[in-house]
């Protein structure tokens, strides 16, 4: 696979070390190496699930430390999402919130020694972007209905002669292309940034200036980038939902008028 090219720029991690131990060119070693990103993703899934379980198994009105921290994150995300989507945003908070936490932890995973960011793989980010794409399209179809959705894709305003057929068809094609491009741009943006950060970490890991390892600075930068990229991905997801839901309100107003 093309991932062999990536290996040269990455720091060793638990899975790659295990694959090397077993023998990279044996069948098992090759399989472990191929599923490297999925293994790290599953580790993150387990960690998040464990924390959620510990924090929420007996929720109390006066929370303990862990519950308090989880509530702060959940409340912050809910406020953030409802701030953009309005009151109906609560319906999408679990999806976008989970996405944010999952991506953030996967991004930060690369900073921990012997771990790797699964988001530095395009397959991971594309998988997440496809989830977003499908959920957004499903929401649009549910809100507009099939004909309403097609009508929405043809855009506004409509006019006479050429405007009644030509422009709506062109707008329809344009909208389809823009919708299809979204998951690609979303996933490539995240993947490339995190991959770049990991690359920088691996390159700077052996360097230093005046006795201070350059890794210190690039790690701080990587933490910031991990947070920013998670926010960007979640924010764009929220905006995609907002575009669909706002149009719904506008269409209802237009119909009412």
């Amino acid at each position: 696979m093309a991932q062999t090219q990536q290996v040269q720029h990455e720091l060793p991690n638990l899975v790659s070390l295990l694959a090397d131990k077993i023998g990279r060119f044996t069948h098992l070693g090759e399989q472990i190496y191929l599923w490297e990103n999925v293994i790290f993703s599953l580790i993150i899934v387990l960690i998040i699930s464990l924390v959620a379980f510990l924090a929420c198994r007996k929720p109390k009105m006066i929370p303990d430390r862990l519950q308090n921290a989880v509530e702060a994150v959940a409340g912050g995300l809910d406020d953030f999402i409802c701030g953009i989507l309005g009151a109906q945003g609560r319906k999408y908070t679990p999806f976008i919130g989970t996405l944010f936490i999952y991506i953030l932890l996967m991004n930060l995973c690369g900073i921990i020694p012997f771990m790797k960011s699964p988001t530095s793989s395009w397959s991971t980010t594309l998988g997440l972007a496809l989830c977003v794409f499908i959920y957004v399209q499903y929401t649009a179809l549910r809100e507009f209905g099939l004909w309403g959705y097609l009508d929405h894709m043809m855009g506004r305003p409509r006019g006479i002669l050429a405007f009644s057929v030509f422009i709506p068809v062109m707008m329809f094609i344009l909208h389809i292309v823009s919708e299809l491009v979204r998951p690609i741009s979303l996933s490539l943006r995240l993947r490339s940034n995190i991959w770049g950060d990991d690359l920088l970490l691996s390159v700077l890991s052996g360097m230093g200036a005046g006795g201070v390892p350059l890794l210190v600075f690039s790690t701080l930068l990587a933490i910031l980038a991990a947070l920013v990229q998670a926010v960007v991905f979640s924010l764009l997801t929220t905006i995609y939902f907002a575009l669909v839901l706002t149009h719904e309100e506008e269409d209802k107003e237009t119909r009412a008028n």
Partner: protein, 164 residues
């Protein structure tokens, strides 16, 4: 096309499944509970705020009532003080009148007493003078006068005294 070589269908499917499993777990065990709890807490806080606002409104209402009562008490106290002052003034006036009348009576009595005492003193003085005059006359002229002559002399003397 080199970019497409980075993709692995199996990995994409596995990542989608991994995310969906996480989403399902968190949706049921975390988001629902946490958001429900946050809503409950928000409601509780809102209720507490409402109660505080109501309590504030009650306090404000009570304060206004208290102020009104205080104002009415002040008014009543003022009226009572005014009434008491008027009564006191009336009593004072009456006392003054009574005192004046009594004083006038005392003065009149005193005047009458003075007149009486004066008259009495005059009579005593007359008798004393008569006696003295008689003695003095007796001593002076060394002679026995008739009663008729005495009386005439005394009368003349007294008239002289009155003129003085």
């Amino acid at each position: 096309m080199d970019l497409l070589k980075l993709l692995s269908t199996n990995e994409i499917i596995a990542q989608v499944l991994g995310f969906l499993i996480l989403l399902a777990l968190l949706r049921v065990f975390a988001w629902k509970r946490i958001l429900g709890l946050l809503d409950k807490r928000k409601e509780r806080i809102a209720l507490e705020f409402k109660r505080i606002e109501e309590a504030k409104a009650d306090i404000e209402r009570l304060r206004l009532e208290y102020d009104k009562k205080l104002a009415s008490i002040d008014e009543a106290a003022k009226l009572k003080i005014d009434a008491a002052l008027n009564e006191a003034r009336a009593i004072l006036e009456e006392s003054r009148k009574n005192g004046y009348i009594q004083a006038q009576g005392i003065i009149d009595n005193a005047k009458q007493s003075v007149k009486y005492e004066l008259a009495k003193a005059k009579d005593e003085l007359k008798n004393e003078i008569i006696d003295l005059t008689l003695k003095a006359t007796e001593n002076l002229i060394q002679e026995k006068l008739t009663e008729e002559g005495d009386r005439r002399l005394v009368k003349d003397f007294l008239e002289g005294v009155d003129k003085l």
